[in-house]
Symmetry: C2
Subunit: 439 residues, 2 copies
């Protein structure tokens, strides 16, 4: 076995990059025992390399130019940790073209330009590791690609955005409204100054794009993922959900059925007794239903400097190991060559079937429930249970809360449209999808 | 890439073997897409191959002689699913000696003869996959070996015996005693006719031996694992545990501290709010604490035909993939070459520190608590809380239940020895270790 080290070039010294340097320093000896040779951090590029104090980078050449890493013929493995689309995309493609392996945490890039990047890796016999791009330190990419490779997956449900999970957990535990919790999370650095990427579900949809491709061996475009964020989740609905025995989580969901796939991200009511409901704070978890395996769940820290860095370093070790082998003989990044991924029909949200939680603000008059139930019934939606609260007089409204049996989303939308026009109902009705089978 | 299939020889057509054949049949096409060539089941050996109906084995040669598989020069990969030490050990060693790869679910063999078998694999440049040997379909071997390879683990807590977890869950949920639940589990085929291997903790200790080597990169001998089974867990203690906020699980525990390792299997009280406490029925789960990653958890089915078969097939795919590469360049079975595993001092049970649940059956007289607390205090054991129940007269005893702060096991044993001799105490005291930090 070659005793020469594997030469790493690191691009980006932010939160994760700093963690990677720390882990390489602390665990360098153990890594060399595992690999038979050391991982040698040879080049580091960071915009702020001269501006801010950086961790010990004894033998690395520092630069503010990321291209200096990609252009260096000595570098074996480029670690891209700057995020965003450009210049990350160009840097990654050029590194692969030069036959360098790449390790990245960039979910946005892979979700939006995966076809281009995975194809480039394959064409040039280079490896690309992206464990850190989904669910931080949870080895879910490996698990789907290799651990569950003998099974056929049926469905996947993920809590994959820590910020949203922190906000929803706090709203639920401290009975505070969304805006209050978000503001405090921002003040504490737990949410970004511009939080829309997280709370509008975009980040979760990026991750779901990758998870769905891996779990089902199909091509999924980011654009086809249905996305709904958590801005509209209110304390009222959290409390009613609890009365029905549910909690509210932002779930990334993928289900294969009748040779079609549905991929969606939205606030979801799930049984409080399910393991996913117990995933609090900023933790992540992915629940997988396999045909042969049945239920399995993977839980851990989905973000943060050191947790995410563990995934980056694990990928470095794997990639370095595969470098010693015949090119192209390793594990393909998505578990099979790109051309083997099936094209599958992605079911639009209107075509899904789900149970629903519904809340209407209605006048407290006789016949209101009958009227609404009638419209729902006309649309093939049957009611599983009802909570009718309060007594009011005159024009004050009270919440009327329903849980439906499985119904078609298209029918639900049509029905809610009619209900919302009733003079006895005030404002827009609230609907939240329910997922029951998570145990 | 070679288009010729990888030739499999399967030894053992029991529960798991049958599941493997089923999966290879159902998912053969997908597996070939992943691998670039098919997995071809070429030989099958089973004691009962002529006696009982077997699953469709279209192109395989059947035999009742396991050596026919190992001796066939065409076989690339031997799948050993007969369990037990002999002839499994000889078959495995001979297969490796002939340069064949091996996939096995045999935890007893690897826990007791791992040194010999892993060394043989290394010496002959053969791969050995054993994902199915621990926690059935949960890919915990891969996770520890590769997914968490960048981190340094601190502790591991596993529910790794489904039979014990089923019995303890049922005892807890239906308020039944151990013997009742065990008898029913045996009648339903959920426990073996001779259940001692499971309920006395031997099976869990086998698995812990392997998990500890992987998680900490050290050598662990099965003999050094402390083992205590669940026969003595009583309904009384389950109920008191609940009052303290705990559940009782059979945990496999490994902790590294001060360059020593403790490895132990015993009934353990854990907070009911912890994820592990929510792992019911025959499910398995492994909770890992890493220095950088923090907490992570892996949950799923730990036994059963198809769940375990998914792990076997995943190993076949991995092994077949690595076969195309330069010999010896793959992932070593324990994550690093055998000689790189550290020798570490394994701390005997007397040297551990733990919190304890204690129950004494004591006469209901003034001064009893003071007397017992005094003895505990003399041994550096301080009391965290007390439940004193009942009122009795005369010579009837009532339970006196304590929860201690962290104390040394050696001190506890000495103290209990003295307490048990007190005339005010009847019978032997009960002590159950508590693990608090599982979140």
């Amino acid at each position: 076995m070659a005793s020469e080290g594997v030469k790493l070039g690191l691009i980006g010294l932010g939160t994760v990059g700093t963690g990677v340097v720390q882990l390489l320093t602390q665990n360098g000896d153990t890594i060399a025992r595992k690999l038979g040779r050391p991982l040698a951090l040879t080049r580091v590029a960071s915009r702020s390399v001269h501006a801010k104090p950086h961790p010990p980078l004894e033998n690395a050449q520092l630069s503010s130019d990321p291209w200096s890493v990609v252009h260096d013929p000595d570098i074996d493995l480029v670690v891209e940790l700057i995020g965003g689309i450009e210049p990350a995309r160009s840097l990654t493609l050029e590194a692969l073209r030069r036959g360098k392996d790449v390790v990245t945490a960039n979910k946005a890039l892979l979700a939006q330009h995966g076809a281009e990047i995975f194809a480039a890796a394959e064409a040039h016999g280079a490896h690309i590791g992206f464990e850190a791009s989904v669910a931080g330190g949870i080895p879910i990419i490996r698990t789907l690609r290799e651990g569950l490779a003998g099974d056929r997956n049926r469905a996947l449900f993920g809590i994959v955005n820590g910020t949203c999970n922190y906000i929803l957990t706090t709203m639920s535990e401290h009975a505070e409204e969304f805006a209050t919790v978000l503001a405090r999370a921002q003040a504490q650095g737990l949410a970004e100054a511009d939080p829309s990427f997280d709370i509008d579900g975009i980040d979760a949809a990026h991750k779901l794009t990758l998870l769905a491709m891996l779990a089902f061996g199909v091509r999924v475009s980011f654009e086809s993922v249905y996305v709904e964020g958590i801005r509209h989740v209110s304390q009222t609905d959290i409390l009613f959900a609890r009365e029905f025995g549910y909690g509210i989580k932002l779930l990334a969901i993928a289900k294969e059925e009748d040779d079609t796939l549905e991929v969606r991200v939205h606030p979801t009511m799930i049984p409080r007794s399910s393991l996913l409901a117990g995933v609090g704070d900023a933790y992540n978890a992915i629940f997988v239903q396999g045909e042969a395996l049945g239920s399995s769940l993977y839980f851990g820290r989905g973000a943060g400097s050191l947790p995410t860095a563990t995934a980056v370093v694990a990928d470095m070790i794997d990639t370095a190991r595969q470098r010693g082998t015949i090119r192209g003989s390793g594990v393909p990044p998505l578990g099979m060559p790109w051309h083997e991924l099936r094209a599958i029909r992605l079911r639009p949200i209107d075509e899904i079937t789900s149970e629903y939680y519904l809340r209407f603000m209605a006048l407290d008059r006789p016949g209101v429930l009958a009227r609404i139930a009638g419209i729902l019934g006309d649309h093939d939606i049957s009611i599983a249970s009802v909570i009718q609260r309060g007594r009011s007089e005159g024009d004050e409204t009270v919440p009327l809360v329903l849980r439906t049996h499985a119904a078609k989303e298209r029918n639900l939308k049509a029905a809610l449209c009619l209900v919302d026009e009733l003079p006895i109902v005030q404002g827009k009705s609230v609907s939240i999808r329910i997922e029951e089978n998570l145990g």
